[in-house]
């Protein structure tokens, strides 16, 4: 091989090019003499063995494999057949790292056909082997998952035959895996036609969700299930069949039935309680009515006889006795008012609201007209603004204005110039009606007592009253599904606001009416 000086420039270049290619290869390449000694290596071989080129050349090639005999056997085969393909071996790196390779090798000859040695190329298959192992493991893992699933899982061929099942399917059907596979999937349902339809839907739509079926066990017991199924395809996109997962909903169904049953029971109980409550309310109203009704008779008698006593013997009685008689008279008169107001409150409570579109301006004006007689000799300025038309019971609304306005008249009595105003303003898109006066007002810290029955914020010597008027107003407003509140300042005046119609307090005739029945 000492002819190098005779090589032409092109030849040298070609040889260098070939050498570069060899060195650039990622596959370990090696040439071996007929005696089995390494004659040449490339960079990849140096890398895979961890040995320098100089130490490799001239050594026995089989030294670098985990199985030298197998390596030699491969080498022998090359001479025998002229080549080997994908001959598996494992190269041992100097630091003991192992690399799985597949060898492709062939003999190479001189121009005269004499065998000069073996040319061997190794392909590193560590990664591939690792990937294969991984795949195998993944598949095993997937299988375990399938088997571990409590949901019966099944794959069905395009012909409708079961191709695979998991343990849960065996449990649900009571049929062994061997007998299930190959049989018609619809055989195991209480409604085979419906099962068949579901199967067809999967093909039509690609999948079905929560398809209700019932699996029949060989013992006769039935499991309610919801099926989720989808087509499964090969990597190439060819439909192989259907994968179907069933979810046992027997428990859920029972739970649902239980919930339904409990709901029915609850509803029944609510109906009963409501009826009881209504009955109790009626009873209470009847009681209120009859108490106030029956109180009237003895009151009348006390009033009558004390009056007769005054009239017939008054002049003969000492001044003290006359005074006592007067107090009796006054007491009965006041109690008479109380009883009448209570009766009225009870009547309002029982009164069925008859809704009618009503202009509140005329209702307010009627109430004002009635009150004018009480204002004789007083300076009262009435400011009646324009009020809305609303759906209400006109008779009850008249009472609302009567009570609110008579309060205004009463509590402005100390004023030399009383101003009583009725108007409306908008609040959250709904009309709010107000009644305002410049009277004595009250302290807002007592505002919660304002609408309670018999609650009074003034001394009877200053302002007469029974403490039922505002309670009655509130009940009427509530019966209309509205709300009433007040703003006031001591000695400055008071304003009462109310809304009517559906509000957050509920329906006019149900909740509100009950809420109002407190007497």
């Amino acid at each position: 091989m000492g002819a190098a000086p005779q090589l032409s420039t092109e030849q040298r270049q070609a040889s260098q090019y070939a050498r570069s290619l060899i060195e650039a290869s990622l596959d370990p390449l090696v040439t071996i003499s007929p005696e089995g000694k390494i004659t040449d290596v490339n960079e990849a071989t140096i890398k895979v063995t961890g040995m320098p080129r100089a130490q490799l050349i001239g050594t026995d090639f089989s030294n670098y494999f985990t199985e030298p005999d197998k390596a030699r056997e491969g080498y022998r085969q090359v001479f025998e057949k002229g080549f080997v393909t994908d001959y598996p071996l494992t190269i041992r790196h100097k630091d003991r790292r192992l690399v799985d390779v597949l060898y492709n090798a062939s003999v190479y000859r001189d121009v005269n056909g004499n065998v000069l040695g073996v040319f061997a190329a190794a392909r590193d298959v560590t990664e591939r082997k690792r990937a294969e192992e991984k795949l195998h493991k993944a598949s095993l893992y997937a299988r375990n998952l399938l088997e571990a699933s409590l949901d019966p899982l099944v794959t069905i061929s395009r012909e409708g035959k079961i191709t695979d099942v998991n343990r849960a399917t065996e449990t649900a059907t009571g049929v062994s895996r061997e007998r299930l596979i190959g049989s018609d999937f619809s055989d195991y349902f209480t409604q085979p036609e419906k099962a068949q339809q579901g199967y067809e839907q999967v093909f039509a739509r690609g999948s079905v969700r929560d398809y209700a079926l019932a699996i029949r066990h060989t013992s006769g017991s039935v499991t309610d299930v919801l099926y989720n199924a989808a087509l499964f395809k090969t990597e190439e996109g060819e439909i192989e069949g259907v994968f179907a997962a069933a979810r046992d909903v027997t428990e859920r169904k029972h739970a649902e039935e239980e919930v339904r049953r409990l709901n029915d029971e609850l509803e029944q109980r609510v109906i009963q309680r409501t009826a009881q409550l209504e009955a109790a309310n009626k009873e209470l109203e009847a009681f209120t009515y009859s108490v106030s009704h029956d109180l009237r008779a003895p009151l009348r008698h006390i009033s009558g006889f004390s009056k007769l006593l005054t009239e017939e013997y008054g002049s003969n009685l000492p001044t003290d006795a006359q005074h006592h008689l007067q107090r009796i008279q006054e007491g009965t008169r006041r109690m008479g008012l109380l009883v009448d107001d209570l009766l009225n409150l009870g009547r309002v409570g029982r009164h069925e609201v008859r809704l009618q579109v009503t202009g509140l301006t005329s209702v307010a004006n009627e109430a004002v007209a009635e009150l004018k007689a009480d204002c004789e000799g007083r300076q009262v300025e009435w400011k009646i603004g324009s009020l809305p038309f609303v759906e209400c019971d006109p008779a009850l609304m008249r009472q609302v204005f009567q009570n609110l306005l008579s309060n205004a008249v009463k509590f402005t009595r100390p004023r030399s110039q009383a101003v009583i105003e009725v108007g409306q303003r908008e609040q959250e898109g709904r009309p709010v009606v107000f009644v305002r006066d410049n009277g004595v007002g009250f302290n807002m810290k007592y505002s919660d007592k304002l609408f309670g029955v018999f609650q009074r914020l003034h001394r009877p010597e200053d302002f007469e009253g029974t403490g039922v008027g505002l309670a009655t107003v509130q009940r009427i407003v509530q019966k209309h599904g509205g709300r009433i509140w007040a703003e006031a300042e001591l000695d400055k005046g008071a304003t009462f606001y109310f809304t009517l119609g559906a509000s957050e307090e509920g329906e006019p005739k149900t909740k509100a009416a009950m809420a109002g029945d407190r007497v």
Binding site: H293, R296, R300, H301, S303
Partner: protein, 160 residues
């Protein structure tokens, strides 16, 4: 009772009886008042049977003041019987009661009551009311002639 009974007062409560009588007497409105303490007694008086079997049917009261809550036979029943009978139905019946119940009002008028008055608690008002009722029915109101009373056919037969 000697003279003509002007008013039949049907009232179970003795206090109410006394106060009503007082009011009526004081105004000199009633020369003769008959008191019935329950519904049964009222009916016996009006139809001349039972304890009033000896009474002459030809002399009916000119006004009935009727309470509603009564022992034995209640006021509504008395009203019904009075207005159902040809011989008594023209007698004015004024319901004088503590009740202001809508149901009682409607029932009363439906059964033919001529007036419905709730007894005021205040005695002055009570007296004024009773006085007004008496004045109206015994003085202002024009009743048919006494001999026109009762069933005409019966009347004719009796005259012959």
């Amino acid at each position: 009772m000697t003279g003509q009974v002007e008013i039949l007062l049907v009232e179970d409560n003795p206090d109410d009886v006394e106060l009503t009588l007082h009011a009526l007497r004081k105004e000199n409105l009633a020369n003769s008042i008959q008191v019935a303490r329950d519904g049964e007694e009222a009916l016996e008086f009006l139809f001349c049977n039972g304890t009033h079997a000896g009474r002459c049917f030809e002399r009916p009261p000119r006004l009935i003041l009727l309470d509603l809550k009564l022992p034995k036979v209640d006021g509504m029943e008395v009203l019904k019987r009075v207005k159902a009978d040809e011989r008594t139905k023209i007698i004015p019946v004024v319901i004088l009661t503590s009740s202001k119940e809508e149901r009682d009002l409607v029932n009363g008028y439906n059964l033919g009551a001529n007036s419905y008055i709730q007894k005021p608690v205040d005695f002055d008002q009570f007296r004024d009311t009773v006085k007004a009722v008496g004045l109206y029915w015994l003085v202002t109101n024009q009743p048919p002639e006494p001999n026109g009373f009762g069933h005409p056919a019966v009347q004719v037969t009796a005259a012959k």
